[in-house]
Symmetry: D5
Subunit: 143 residues, 10 copies
């Protein structure tokens, strides 16, 4: 544990967050996301939910102001009637942390998988909510 860093962030995850540079992406995945098959660099955070992790990570770096959408969500599969109330939590957490408004993009399920493969890392959680996967694009650290 370190002073000023959320204790739910593991040493590996903290290292990965610090290694990321401008434009690199990280996926915070729910418990059903096929993380192990889609990412070479996978950090297990089985004891956390996605909202807790988002709250722990966002204070550590800004989102990418060069990108149109620094945040991406997995679009609900057509025909699926699942609701995604967790998205509202995400938007509130982002609004609380970001210095400027950040737009959310919705990405079709299989396109989301392909994008996850190219992300710098995938963080797994034990999140039970469906469609709770979220991608963050890191911005420029200036302070």
């Amino acid at each position: 544990m370190l002073k000023g860093i959320s204790p739910i962030i593991s040493p590996d995850l903290l290292k990965i967050l610090m290694e990321m540079g401008h434009g690199d992406e990280i996926v915070i995945a729910d418990g059903n996301f096929p993380s192990a098959s889609h990412g070479e660099r996978v950090v297990r955070c089985d004891g956390s939910g996605t909202t807790e992790l988002l709250e722990a990570i966002l204070p550590l770096f800004p989102l990418d102001s060069y990108a149109d959408y620094p945040i991406a969500l997995m679009q609900v599969v057509p025909g699926d009637t699942v609701k995604t109330p967790i998205w509202d939590d995400y938007k509130a957490i982002v609004a609380d942390n970001a210095s400027e408004p950040a737009a959310f993009e919705e990405v079709e399920r299989f396109a989301f998988y392909e994008r996850a493969k190219k992300a710098y890392a995938i963080v797994t959680t034990s999140e039970r909510a469906l469609y709770a996967n979220i991608i963050l694009k890191k911005g420029v650290v200036t302070t």
Copy 2:
């Protein structure tokens, strides 16, 4: 995730719990325990507390009925005035899960470190409570 297994248990931890045999020990360590320097096989569970993990692990195997004390706690350092209310939680959880009563042993701090080095694995948590480290000795699985 798997049906019937707590989602806070990671795949690595589940594998380790299954690999353990009669008499092998596992340490569930609090956030200040020097896990990385004392265990070769360390599983990070930074998002969980020790009580949650104890509750998730105990349904998976019995404690060792061949040993006098199948459970060990780290003794409070003489002169330290810290209280350890979490120990009562541990005792309640064990009582809920064990088929027969299991005795708790208190082990002096540095002796506890030496025993942790010989354990099959150390599980790290983000537990804030002090003296929350606990060692479990696995018993014989018969069912």
Copy 3:
């Protein structure tokens, strides 16, 4: 060994089953399947047959309800007169475990090989029956 998990499942296999996410596939292969040359992640279960493994694995996760065919079999090569009574066993085991009916797809031999290469893992068995290979697609764990 763990309580509630079939002892024929090895720690490595259990870890792999837990790592799999929605849409990941696993191949349970018979003794003649070219597993080592087709899978990077191969789990040896030489002491088990395919039906025993199917019975041990299916209670651990649901099949994929998003897919038309969550299960695939290797089609008999045209001209081959071998019978496949083991398929009936498979169907009975699936019916016993699945909460909803699951359709079986038959895949041509070399297409099956290509699909096996992309599976998350291949489990080898010492099954003597021919055409006993079976692919399972994991669904969403919700409980």
Copy 4:
């Protein structure tokens, strides 16, 4: 699979059996034996029982005629009332395979653990019988 070799023997186990030389020992361990913590070279045979493996292994090499006891069993812990009928099965299998009578030694539990650490390999099984662990010392292959 290979002609003339029992299909419950995995490729790794077969390689290990062949690598062993005169005087090397192998442990066939029951499902509760702490294999992973006591052997660097561990072969998982979770789908098999100890008697099946003994029957599969003994045709492949002779026992050590230079040793007083080429076979060792784990002694029942004093006070334990468990019976060990599986030992009779072992003796019958050995009698069927060995060209000359082979004496069985009983080794105290913790001494057995120490000896297992020095064995060339430990084979794990899913054997439910207690005290089913058995050590074989390989003899000179002359044919």
Copy 5:
């Protein structure tokens, strides 16, 4: 060494032969074959000739009855006047071992190299005869 297995087969080679499944190929290469540059999985058998190895390997598995040519030889380069009497030895050894006749295919030198790259393994020998390379395709083990 093991009873019933030729002592010129190394433990690694035996493991590889057992890992191979239906349709996998193995190259037995002469001393001048560029094995190290063409195979990721190379087994050195420098003390043996190709005929000895063929005699040691063929009793262990059947050739592939699903393939038109379960055996391939490297075609003599046009203009090369070398004779290949060792091919007759091969045909006699195959005839002695196979339960049914097996057809030999001749493959052009560079096509042979490409096929060797895809083989499950290449076995090197110290065979002095030229054009002594031979590929075997494993069949279905049914006994």
Copy 6:
């Protein structure tokens, strides 16, 4: 880079600082310290001096209040006339960061080497000052 973390701390160093637990030690070594031969876990920080690193590290964790001397310096070799003005800088930096006074211990050169071998990590610097090596013992993180 991360917000709130000094950019002279590398991702590896940050991970190591977070992995350390109560009582673990870290050596900040000068440019002449035999780091590579005395530590298995060595982090190179060649672009920094020891004072800069001390200033960057101390805000991240408390020193060990359970130890008599949470900080150690390498004693000047008897007969050596070198002065160590950098020690005053160290004391000022510690005073600025610590919540309570921390005592400095002087350790004989070869005893210092032995202690460095047991430290969790050694951080190398390009510090030109002599006798600039310093050991920190991590305390309990409570906030």
Copy 7:
């Protein structure tokens, strides 16, 4: 440390500089560059700025006189109003070190990323200046 080599160059970096041959490129990246995701061979120099490193590296090898532009900078993204005064420092340092004038090329941001992927190594720094990334192409060492 070695006589005549700047102490801010780590042993790994020195080895890499020496391994590079005619035409190989090295990227000196600022603190926001996505180094870890773009280079397989990454050397962390978190305690240094880019100008310090450039000054330390240039005395060790000549720039490539066979190339039109032995040096490349990352072009400012259109619309970005950031100034790049550090480029003037670079030009002065190059002029001080090079035996003959060396031309600077400006490369579009994403083309720069692609070129960085092919570079022999990426050196990370804690440089705060934006657009401070610079690529050097090594020339022929003749003395």
Copy 8:
């Protein structure tokens, strides 16, 4: 060291020369060749020049009589006025060692790089002469 083998050949290089088969190529590179970036299998021979190595290697295997040009040199870049007297030394050494005349091919600089990438190994030297790189194609060893 071994009797009959030049002591400037390292054990690794000798192993590589022996592993090479008919048609495999080896590059003997001068001190400025980008070896580390172009070869996965690189042997450092920094204390030797290219002519010494050529003299040490050629007695160990014949050149490829099946190829039109068993030897390749790097063509002088158009416009470069460097002379290549070392090529005459090469021709003399080859004439001294080869049982039959061997033709030299000149390969354009970047084509030479591509061919070096496919070679079985690149041997680096500290050769100061420019354009001293040479590729040898191994022939059939018959004695």
Copy 9:
């Protein structure tokens, strides 16, 4: 293969022979020797007998003239009536190769095992003769 080197010597073995220095020992072991459990560096030569290997190795280096016994054999176990005619072959081969007479030492079985553990390498063979193990101590290469 290389000119002048016996083709039964593998590239790995040749490398090891060359790496050995004055006083290093190598064990040529028969097919029953427990090589895998006694040597970290084991070279498999399953296709060769011990006499063939001795004949192939001795031309490559001199025996140690500083040692009283540069050669060691495994003493027959008291009570064992096995004859060791192969020792005469060894003596004849040594006499043919050594420039000066070399004395043979007989070492008790378990002392031989301990010495084998310290040898630089153990070479396994498929030698059927008993007590055919032989240790060679390398001398100073002067030519």
Copy 10:
């Protein structure tokens, strides 16, 4: 290659020389020294002699002025009549490079081996001279 560094020093050796700190030792070994069996960190410099390497290394760091003997030679074995003229070369080279006189210690053969095991690295050469092994103890780099 780098400007100002002898081209006979390999990148690995340069890295090792730079990693060494005050009091670390390096062995420059002759061609008969058992380097591979005595050092975990071995750098092959087969193309160089010991005097050339000594001349290349000494300009890079000072010898240890804290030690009585910063240089050690291997004592001639009693009874051996070999002369060691190379020692005079060593003394001349040291005198040319050292800023202050450095004393040479002679160490008995087997004691020398033990010391070599503890050295930071052993550099092998193809030096033919006997008793040419030399150990250097690195001093404090102050410039």
